[in-house]
Subunit: 220 residues, 2 copies
């Protein structure tokens, strides 16, 4: 029986699970869940994840959720094309980069995105200013890392790249909005301000199967 | 050359690294860092972790920080007495419980602790109320899990237990303060309201080496 994945378009966590499955070339049945229709709160999904959140992975009787947990399960079940490192040091550093992103960057990134899309940048200007300063500083660190190496950790695409990539793509999409003109002028163009990050994004976009991970509603 | 660990007394993240080392029975050189003397911001520590945070693990030339990354490194280097699961399903569920704790519980727990210790519960009452409701609901879930099993996931102590335990211990210590009387009456006694969690804490306290992980300044 093939794996099944329930996921939502534009959810960074769903995107991570899709990138993991595609990179490892694991066949899966894809269930695109509509947030607008509240399908992530359907009885079927609540029975698998009481929090009503996607992504959710099902493999026979086994159910897993939370993006990092799904990637961990896939790694242990399908060790080929490893995502969590080839030796202890690489494994530790991959998890360190993921933990740092989660602890110091993700909330700030989401704050900026959410101000642009929902609350208004002007209404939240102090909060957004603080978040932008954090994101700029962390982006410079990532830029430094990617100036020396093709991937965030070691010589191969890994769970560290997967953890960070969707948030950056979603930020870039939010920055393209009319309401984000000022922030956009400050952070972009990416090719000029963060050329190594721009090249890294193109590298991930060129991975086989990437097109299947791209949020479908972004094409509309 | 033995591993070296820099850690701070009462830091939940440091406590995790210590629990991992002790459970795996790995010899290490212990460097207790004084937060009061700002030793975590010393040039020596900033050279290892530019964020100036502990725990930091050093193994020869290799440096690792962020508690979950340290546990990951230890697991890969010393696979005996596994902390991240014995099969793919267990590994996925351990990481799921850790991810859920980090995403939905940890911030709320820290908010309560920080209100008791620093900002005043009355001054922050609405925020604290919200946080307490979340913590109560998550504690009921954990209680349900531990009523059926000795450990949070599977048949053995794991990184899931390690991730959750220090935060709970620090909350219990904060609740013992005079200023926390009302919250204490609501959440405790643990033995009555959450008997399975209380038994689980005693089980962890009975693990060999536990005494060496206990925050030294709590004995003063």
């Amino acid at each position: 029986m093939a794996l099944e994945l329930w996921w939502g378009s534009g959810s960074p966590y769903s995107w991570r699970a899709l990138l993991g499955l595609e990179y490892k070339q694991i066949p899966y049945v894809s269930h695109l869940v509509s947030f607008a229709k509240q399908e992530h709160k359907s009885p079927e999904l609540l029975a698998m994840n009481p929090r009503g959140r996607v992504p959710v992975l099902k493999d026979g009787d086994y159910v897993c959720f939370e993006s990092l947990a799904i990637l961990t399960y896939l790694e242990r079940k399908y060790p080929e094309r490893p995502l969590f490192g080839r030796d202890p040091a690489e494994a530790g550093t991959i998890m360190r980069v993921i933990a740092e992103y989660q602890a110091y960057v993700e909330d700030q990134l989401m704050r900026i995105i959410s101000a642009i899309l929902f609350q208004g940048v002007e209404e939240r200007i102090e909060e957004v200013e603080r978040a932008v300063r954090v994101v700029e500083s962390e982006a410079r660190t990532i830029e430094g890392r990617l100036a020396k190496s093709e991937w965030l950790v070691g010589e191969a695409f890994s769970a560290a790249d997967i953890a960070v990539f969707p948030g950056i793509q979603i930020l870039l999409r939010a920055l393209a909005r009319r309401e984000a003109a000022e922030l956009r002028n400050r952070l972009l163009p990416l090719e000029t301000n963060y050329p190594a990050i721009a090249a890294w994004i193109r590298r991930i976009e060129a991975l086989p199967g990437y097109e299947r991970t791209y949020p479908p509603h972004w094409r509309e």
